[in-house]
């Protein structure tokens, strides 16, 4: 399942808009993750998870920045996220099921902020892109 040229174009162009609100979107996606799927909080016992916390904001930015790196190298996501892939495999070891949950919450956040842009085509392209990112991040798990 690799992205077609059309899908890459959609992802890159939407990223332009998302990037302008990257911090807000990152934090909101995490808030949605922790509200809807409380079991995901188990990976953050060291965090203040109250909505709006400085740690949530910083972590949301981090996540979106990494997504931005993937978008900038959309022809080689595995290369762009190689270090992060190792981090998740050897240090963080987040169970793979959680990447789907965060991906879903990212889509919900983007849909709620940019409804006009989030057409069925865009939805499909972004779902596929986030699946690719998730696959890359779990590639070295075993």
């Amino acid at each position: 399942m690799s992205l077609t040229k059309a899908e890459r174009t959609i992802v890159v162009s939407m990223w332009g808009k998302i990037a302008t609100q990257a911090d807000v979107i990152g934090m909101e996606a995490l808030e949605r993750l922790f509200s809807s799927f409380p079991q995901t909080k188990t990976y953050f016992p060291h965090f203040d998870l109250h909505p709006g916390s400085a740690q949530l904001r910083a972590h949301g930015s981090k996540v979106l920045a990494a997504l931005g790196d993937a978008v900038k190298s959309i022809d080689n996501v595995a290369g762009a996220l190689s270090k992060l892939s190792e981090l998740h495999a050897y240090v963080l070891r987040v169970d793979p099921v959680n990447f789907k949950l965060l991906s879903h919450c990212l889509l919900v956040t983007v849909a709620s902020h940019f409804p006009a842009d989030f057409t069925a085509d865009a939805h499909a392209a972004w779902d596929k892109f986030l699946s690719t990112v998730s696959r890359v991040l779990t590639e070295k798990y075993r």
Partner: protein, 147 residues
């Protein structure tokens, strides 16, 4: 059994009151078929599903989407007994339609995304959480009679 708090029920019913079931139904089912094309396997008789615009404009998709979402409306009236409410439909999906329950989860999540796009800022994390609980409950209820 899924238990919904008063707040969760309120979050669900207040939003549902503003949903255009016909429009939303077509959009939810259409997006399922676009984003997860393998789900088209259940709809060979629907005609032209060859592109996203064909799918989203397909009248059979819209009609069936409306049917599905109307059924969701029944779920919302029976949030305290989803398994009972969906027992017959569960048997149908297993015995006659042969639908893998994973598809109910996919549809539920597409529904949440469509609600987010329609309601924007009103679709807060708390509201989403209530809806995630509902769609998971419906998916489980629909899978409950599988054998």
């Amino acid at each position: 059994m899924v238990l919904f708090t008063a707040e969760e029920k309120a979050a669900v019913t207040s939003l549902w009151g503003k949903v255009n079931v016909e429009e939303a139904g077509g959009e939810v089912l259409g997006r399922l078929l676009v984003v997860y094309p393998w789900t088209q396997r259940f709809f060979d008789s629907f005609g032209n599903l060859s592109s996203p615009s064909a799918i989203m404009g397909n009248p059979k998709v819209k009609a069936h989407g409306k049917k599905v979402l109307t059924s969701f409306g029944d779920a919302i009236k029976n949030m305290d007994n989803l398994k009972g409410a969906f027992a017959k439909l569960s048997e149908l999906h297993c015995d006659k339609l042969h639908v893998d329950p994973e598809n109910f989860r996919l549809l539920g999540n597409v529904m949440v995304i469509v609600l987010a796009s329609h309601f924007g800022r009103d679709f807060t994390p708390d509201v989403q959480a209530a809806w995630q609980k509902l769609v998971a409950g419906v998916a489980n209820a629909l899978a409950h009679k599988y054998h």
